[in-house]
Symmetry: C2
Subunit: 190 residues, 2 copies
Amino acid sequence: MIDEKKPRRRPRSDGQRNREHLLGVAKTAFTAGELDIPLDEIARRAGVGIGTLYRHFPNRDALIEAVYRAELDRLADAAPALAAQYPPVEALRAWMLLFVDYIAAKHVIAPALNGLVEGTSALYAQSGMILQNAIDRLVESAVASGDFKAEIEPLDLLRALAGVSNFSAGPGWETSAKRLVDILIAGSRV
Amino acid sequence: MIDEKKPRRRPRSDGQRNREHLLGVAKTAFTAGELDIPLDEIARRAGVGIGTLYRHFPNRDALIEAVYRAELDRLADAAPALAAQYPPVEALRAWMLLFVDYIAAKHVIAPALNGLVEGTSALYAQSGMILQNAIDRLVESAVASGDFKAEIEPLDLLRALAGVSNFSAGPGWETSAKRLVDILIAGSRV
DNA sequence: AGTATATACGGAGCAATGCTCCGTTTAACA
DNA sequence: TGTTAAACGGAGCATTGCTCCGTATATACT
């Protein structure tokens, strides 16, 4: 009843193009710190009408989500490789440091995490799942290998890390974040 | 030149009253989760004009700051008593748990921390200082007593804690936060 | 008490922004 | 080349933040 598959027409090429443009402009703006740039402005820079923007992304959150989704995916995808290459705890450590680097390099992700934090939008929840899944497996291995306490909750670590990432404090920021990674790991050991 | 002390008139009583009303209404609304309630609405509920609200609090941030300031102060003030009563590490642990409880009980503070996180407003910075000062001393003692590593940066712990507090996840939230406290402490030990 | 004046009040109204609606245009398919 | 689903675009409405300024009143002084 629900699965009526209609013979859809191939998506229009101009639609795709505009979507790309919008994402590109938005990403540039967001990473440049223009976090609350008006959506009209994004549409203008992308050379499309405001209506077009809203058809592709029903609200601001959806746009942000779309912009950072690729980044989050890449971050999550890096986990298996690290897990294969290093012993469990080192893999986790490497991944957490990667997490920090990501935010340090471009100021990407942080806003998405902030939104994720709010918990308002179902979209963010999905992004959160991607990351949670990645860290879940890493922690799982560390527990299985006997290095970590069994009661360690992976999400706790992710939350803490997200918290630190949010602070856009001065130059010491990055080292501070890396210090926290070590504290968290030391605290998780058996 | 700058310190011209003018013989100010005593503040008007109706002004004080209205200020109190506004704070009361705002606090009720905020803790009830109506985080982005329109300022007009707050003014209406408090039975004052919108102009009055803006005279007392020049913008939304200032209002939030004012609402949570007292709470943050109380939290910070609790630190010395704990330090006097318990050994250093236990005092720190107790304070961190208190921090969690505060947020668990009423959903106060979290928004303020979020703002603090943004670093946009000088006001929030001041609030942040209050908390930082409190935790600084607690950690200092723990380091001095030889329980904590010397390189522990108090702000790191505060950041992590703030990060966790932000997530308003399901019922497991509080226990999750408390778990993290223990991880952080374990990871900070020598 | 009466008066002067700093202080506070209140809300109309402007500007910015999010989002919708719908007539027009165009790419896909036959 | 004609038909049509899909996409476009921007006028315009609703909401919200904030300002401005004429009005009201508590305080201080005589």
